[in-house]
């Protein structure tokens, strides 16, 4: 595991041009700006009471989903490119498990609540 062949700094063994680093930096900046915008929108809608009740829940839920996708795309570098699909497949499978387990739990507990407390 030890590899003195790979020095720090210098960069003679890191052949990619600065353009790629600039691109990466721009991606993180895009991610930050979009995430800030989506966060401000969600808090603004709730704090200034622009929406309320189920409408508020639906819109901030949607904003959260968009922000999760934005962070996946710009911070975690996961997109729809064909070069590597296993990561995306794992996310989608995890999403399916979450849907079944969370949805199922809420369904069962909601039903119990209705029968026993109502």
């Amino acid at each position: 595991m030890s590899g003195p062949w790979e020095g720090n700094a210098g960069g003679h063994n890191l052949p990619q041009p600065n353009a790629e680093a600039r691109q990466e930096r721009a991606a993180y900046l895009w991610g930050l700006s979009l995430a800030l915008l989506l966060t401000a929108a969600a808090f603004g809608l709730a704090v200034f009471k622009i929406l309320a009740g189920p409408a508020l829940l639906a819109v901030i839920g949607l904003l959260a989903v968009i922000q999760v996708v934005v962070q996946f795309r710009f911070f975690l570098h996961i997109d729809l490119s064909k070069s590597k699909r296993e990561d995306l497949q794992l996310i989608l499978f995890t999403g399916l498990l979450i849907l079944i387990m969370v949805g199922g739990s809420l369904w069962i507990l909601g039903n119990l609540d209705q029968r026993m407390m109502g």
Binding site: G11, N13, E24, A64, F75, T94, I98, M101
Partner: protein
């Protein structure tokens, strides 16, 4: 951009077997993070079923300080971004810049933990302890598990700063930093769901 092999920033590798090593270890860590996501999702389900069960105790609308939650959100988001800057510096092989961005990330992470502890102590002095109600039990479990992740992340950053200082940006150090990056960004992903499900719904109530 060169072809992506795994989640997170992809470094340029001098030897093909190093790229393969990074791909395998990062995918393994990614699998752990996804199982962690399921754990959090089930705690969110617990919270959602408990949220109206206040057992005569205070409700979220009476307790939560939305200003503090907003501050926590911004601090954590900024720390996710500064970690990204550290990752780009790592990719460029700029050791000093990477360490500096990691220090900034660590300070933001500690700031987040400070804000969270301030919130917890304010809740507890108001008599809203985890024992008060099902709602507060599930709230404290969910928030402290996330806080525990943030604490582990902070310790991990500290360890990596020491390793960078001692070993430089050697191959194992770079590989560990890649995984730490995924872990740190994951913290903010979970937090998006926390502020959306826990804090924002009670503001307008």
């Amino acid at each position: 951009m060169s072809e992506r092999q795994h989640p997170g920033i992809n470094l340029t590798h001098a030897r093909p077997q190093d790229a393969r090593h990074a791909e395998v270890t990062v995918f393994g860590f990614w699998t752990f993070l996804m199982s962690d996501a399921i754990l959090f999702a089930l705690l969110f389900a617990t919270y959602a079923s408990m949220v109206s069960r206040t057992a005569g105790g205070p409700s979220g609308a009476e307790l939560f300080d939305i200003g503090n939650a907003f501050l926590e959100t911004i601090v954590l988001l900024l720390s996710s971004f500064t970690f990204g800057m550290a990752a780009v510096a790592l990719k460029e092989g700029r050791q000093r810049a990477a360490s500096l961005w990691l220090v900034v990330t660590l300070l933001l992470g500690l700031g987040f933990l400070g804000l969270e502890l301030r919130e917890f102590s304010s809740l507890i002095t108001q008599g809203a302890t985890p024992q008060t109600s099902g709602f507060l039990s599930s709230f404290f479990v969910l928030l402290s598990l996330h806080g525990l992740h943030a604490l582990v992340g902070c310790i991990w950053i500290g360890v990596m700063l020491a390793q960078i200082a001692i070993f430089g940006l050697s191959r194992p150090v770079r590989s560990r930093l890649l995984r730490l990056g995924l872990f740190w960004h994951f913290l903010d992903l979970v937090w998006i769901v926390i502020f959306t499900l826990v804090y924002l719904p009670v503001v307008s109530a």
